[in-house]
């Protein structure tokens, strides 16, 4: 899944906006954003960060520098260990022409030392949005790790896993566990890019526009 292939798939799927949120990583976001920009597709700079509690949290920003700053903190909070490619695969780095230009040798398929509250605080400070991922999943979710979704937590929305979203017949405007709910393709393979999309009327240029639109629908409901 190189940035170029992802953006081409997004174009073919007719997406006007997508987020790139890799696991504790963000090396491809800038490339994806540039390629997307050429095609009129907004790429939201994001990351799926794994908290100390082993909860997956989607964080989204509006600009690359904020993501870069967050990545520095994530790198500091990850164990100083090399990746084990025989277990987790090779973390290849691609350029805009799909050429492999490097290898990310850090161990990233683990939790960081950052707690959920800490992540919220940091991301707010950087002007970003916080959306706990697949909140009802059997592992690495708020429910699996904490046993509940805190209604007082400062989340912008919660993500419901695609299969659950479809099965439950959810729509934008729905609230799950007290929060506006969203879902996405959660594409780990190219063919899944654009598999589930959200549609909003009005101008949505960035993640805050999306969150605002979703919250408005949830309030109206």
């Amino acid at each position: 899944m190189s940035p170029r292939q992802v953006i081409l798939r997004a174009r073919d799927a007719g997406l006007s906006m997508l987020a790139v949120a890799d696991h504790n990583a963000s090396a491809h976001v800038q490339t994806a954003r540039r390629l997307g920009g050429d095609l009129g597709i907004v790429v939201v700079p994001g990351m799926e960060v794994e908290s100390r509690e082993e909860v997956h949290i989607l964080v989204y920003f509006t600009e690359l520098p904020a993501l870069a700053e967050f990545q520095v903190l994530v790198d500091q909070a990850l164990p100083q260990q090399p990746n084990a490619p025989e277990v987790f695969g090779y973390q290849l780095l691609y350029d805009e022409q799909d050429e492999i230009v490097g290898l990310d040798e850090r161990l990233r398929q683990v939790g960081t030392a950052l707690g959920i509250e800490q992540i919220i605080r940091i991301v707010r400070g950087l002007g970003g949005a916080i959306v706990p991922a697949h909140i009802h999943r059997r592992r690495t979710s708020l429910l699996s790790q904490l046993g509940f979704v805190d209604p007082a937590a400062d989340f912008d929305a919660v993500e419901v896993a695609r299969p659950e979203w479809v099965k439950s017949g959810l729509r934008l405007g729905a609230r799950v566990d007290g929060f506006p709910a969203i879902a996405g393709s959660d594409a780990h393979f190219l063919e899944d890019v654009g598999r589930l999309r959200l549609e909003l009327t009005g101008d949505v240029h960035d993640i805050h526009g999306l969150i605002r639109g979703v919250r408005e629908l949830a309030e109206a409901a």
């Binding site: 794994e50 100390r52 509690e53 082993e54 164990p79 260990q81 084990a84 277990v87 987790f88 683990v110 939790g111 059997r138 592992r139």
Partner: protein
């Protein structure tokens, strides 16, 4: 003590026994993979409630003597498949990790 001896002593149920002759030097109780990766020592018996397949990967990475799913937790089917293909020892037990630890206290 060998893994085989530990199994006899504690009454563990084999899910997949790849090699019962490995030495068990220590026990570790942990359910957060990051924590286990950071702290488990080689040749440890790992007691956990996590039945998903990722425990097999962690066990390989840290040279674990064997995984014990406690509290009667059943392994996911993929966990069994992966344990068999990777040669990782996996057991089950209806007991708690605390009870199993107390049985092994001073014996390893």
């Amino acid at each position: 003590m060998t893994l085989k001896q530990v199994v006899e002593l504690t009454g563990l149920c084999p899910v997949h026994l790849a090699n019962g002759e490995v030495e068990v030097a220590a026990v570790y109780c942990g359910d957060l993979l990051s924590d286990v990766l950071a702290h488990i020592r080689p040749s440890s018996l790992w007691l956990t409630i996590q039945g998903h397949q990722h425990v097999v990967a962690v066990a390989q990475l840290r040279d674990v003597a064997g995984i014990v799913l406690v509290n009667g937790v059943a392994p996911d089917p993929q966990t069994v498949t992966k344990a068999k293909s990777q040669g990782v020892n996996v057991f089950g037990s209806d007991e708690t990790s605390a009870d199993l630890c107390m049985k092994l206290a001073g014996r390893l």
